[in-house]
Symmetry: C2
Subunit: 437 residues, 2 copies
């Protein structure tokens, strides 16, 4: 929980800007994720490459370590939608904790470098492959994948895409999937949230925290406790949190016991380590803790062996005998390891319905162009964000580079894609400044 | 899972029949259970004892060990309902696994001997104390307690009693609480059972197994796998089980994988040890295992150190990291450790409603008089029962002692209590014979 104080070394991302590929390099070998064939097409054959090659920007993790390990590359290769696939021009990508861990080599579901990360994006279908009946060029889609989406152009399995509601912006669409799926599946599949229950949400100003807070409000009488630094309290309380606790100046266990002496029904724990033990102790009988991360491992830019050792040492290891005597449940959740896509699909449909009914709305913290990925990651790692941090594939315009203005302007006049009917979320310049200052 | 083969030494219960208390011994010190003041009244004062003393039969655990450690005693002491209490004449008591473990000294929620066990019974209110407004003499009630109910007359807190539905027999009433509360809270509070899910119920012919099978049928499209020895399959399949597996001749993991290659949504595990690991392995992503016993510890009549060591050695101890990578939940449940009586109360109300609607009906395996408690325990420990084993406080009649006829006749003509409107469940003589032969 003390990660925010951890010193961070400022580093610049190296940009390999090669807009005109002087030396046509071989296609980056993209190790396909476990079971999903949505990676870019294989290296072009001599024939194909000549007749239909694409040039696009991609963020590539070239090795494990600090922010400088992610390079912006411009690739030229043939991208074609095969059977059951779509070619999608990406408008916005989500940044997740899994990618901070992946960069440090702490996320074993990610293939070895070089690899393109990115589990969620929004975009416009450019072409649909054979056997794709329910998607066509021009469709605005949300895409989910185990990795590979941080690039301007992606080839994905059609059945891992979802049509965006008309009212949804590209930025909202990129901000929704991972955070809301995670929050919804934890609250409703694992923890069985029902009226009148009490929930603790750590990192309540983070993407999952805000999603969980909104989803808790779809159930009557749910009390939501959230931890976050004091400067974020006003915003998250407006977002529906019942009690905001500044974990940096107060003992959150004590604060919660003061308000709710009997304890809590549900704890959502993205921290791991000793915080899991504290959360377990806070549960009422029949209570459930869902561990969905080990953010306590991620302190500083590079793999922090001491933090990892400490987190692991304190990792809750429960005997079933102890669980029986306490009448408690311990669950683990990580969307990246979810093999059952049918549940993801039905949950996404539920979430898109809730969005359309106005019951949930992703909060965009800030947007960064691909070339600013280091700033984006630093903002998340230092826990400065309130809501989602997004990456935009389109290059930062020259005039934008002087002030710290974000890139929402480009969304309003998309090149070849049908424009989003509503304005994108405005990034908060003063928050971006906090990060960049 | 190999307990059924374990050799059992035949032993007789010592009966201390002292119908006329020649030497008026001091009241048995009944250590009160943790938070429930429903134990028999304290030792009578000199005055009270003279004016209103009761003589009643009680089963007393006199030390940890074999069947002979439970003595039938006849006590004479004043039994009066204090404020908020009821004096109840007991008609039938449930036998549970916790009492097998308690006798062996393996159940730490039970006070040290001498102590009277018994967590559930049915009976008739003889007198209501002050401040009890919703119960009166003559009411037929179900009683729950952490212990102390295996006696003819008990003083209990009124708010730990439930009025029996008119159609319910005393035997059903004594068979329902622990098994159905356990099954219901595991399936619906912890495991979030919903339509179309698959469930594995170990010891499917046991009290909880039959309760769980019936409760699964209240939800559409639930597939229930159950393990039991082959001789019980016909009965439990008639009871609604989808697939019966003879764990003694087949590898249940393999059998289940053959039928459901993707695995299971829910495993209810009363066994512990290596079976918990197998159950965990059988879970689908988002699946839940609820461990609610360590029956693998209870082999043979006395504490079996080898079985305990083996069960503990194989006890699942899960790191949260492993849970995250598997997207699974591990829960522990034990009604005896449940401190939150409000949830027990609402669940009992739900269960009594389901009984009245005809959706659940406790299956009585057999009934034993108090003096036959060793036979009752042996039947359960050797896993010969199909359904609930009950203990009856009323003495066995002389004419009954020749054949192995059970005691349901007495229920039909209760002495001072309003008769149950329906006939009690008939005990199955042929099954009783299997036990006693």
């Amino acid at each position: 929980m003390s990660n925010e104080e951890a010193p961070i070394q400022q580093q610049q991302v190296d940009l390999e800007k090669t807009p005109e590929p002087a030396e046509p390099k071989p296609a980056e070998p993209h190790p396909a994720p476990a079971e999903e064939p949505q990676q870019p097409a294989a290296a072009p054959s001599a024939d194909d490459a000549q007749e239909e090659s694409h040039t696009f920007r991609a963020l590539v993790l070239t090795g494990h370590g600090g922010y400088d390990k992610i390079k912006l590359q411009v690739k030229t290769q043939r991208m074609a939608a095969g059977s059951g696939e779509l070619l999608v021009r990406v408008k916005a990508c989500g940044l997740n904790f899994a990618e901070l861990m992946g960069r440090q080599g702490l996320y074993d579901a990610l293939a070895s470098p070089p690899v393109t990360m990115g589990m969620e994006c929004s975009g416009v279908v450019e072409a649909a492959g054979e056997d794709v009946e329910d998607r066509k060029a021009g469709d605005r889609v949300i895409v989910l994948s185990s990795s590979g989406l941080w690039q301007e152009l992606v080839v994905v399995a059609a059945d891992q895409t979802f049509l965006m509601p008309d009212a949804m912006s590209f930025q909202e669409a990129a901000a929704l999937p991972v955070n809301y799926l995670t929050a919804h599946m934890m609250l409703f599949e694992m923890a069985n949230l029902r009226p009148g229950k009490s929930v603790l949400v750590h990192m309540a100003a983070g993407g999952v925290g805000i999603a969980a807070t909104q989803l808790c409000q779809t159930v009557p009488g749910v009390t939501v406790f959230g931890t976050a630094s004091a400067s974020k309290h006003e915003t998250i309380l407006q977002g529906g949190l019942s009690h905001a606790i500044d974990y940096r100046t107060k003992d959150y266990v004590e604060e919660i016991r003061n308000i709710s002496p009997a304890g809590l029904d549900i704890v959502l724990d993205p921290l791991g380590g000793s915080d899991t033990n504290k959360g377990f102790g806070l549960l009422k009988p029949m209570g459930t803790i869902v561990v969905f991360g080990a953010a306590n491992c991620v302190t500083g830019q590079k793999k922090n062996l001491l933090a990892i050792a400490k987190t692991w040492y304190n990792q809750l290891s429960i005997s079933t005998m102890k669980l029986m005597q306490a009448n408690k449940s311990v669950c683990g959740f990580h969307l990246g390891y979810m093999k059952d896509f049918s549940l993801i699909r039905t949950t996404m449909e539920t979430l898109l319905g809730l969005y359309t009914e106005g019951k949930i709305k992703p909060r965009i913290d800030s947007t960064y162009h691909f070339e600013e990925v280091a700033d984006a990651m630093r903002r998340m790692q230092e826990r400065q964000n309130i809501g989602k941090v997004l990456l935009l594939p389109e290059p930062k315009k020259e005039e934008e580079k002087v002030p710290e203005k974000e890139a929402e302007k480009e969304e309003e006049k998309p090149a070849e894609a049908p424009a989003s009917p509503q304005e994108e979320e405005k990034a908060k310049p003063e928050e971006a400044k906090e990060d960049q200052g």
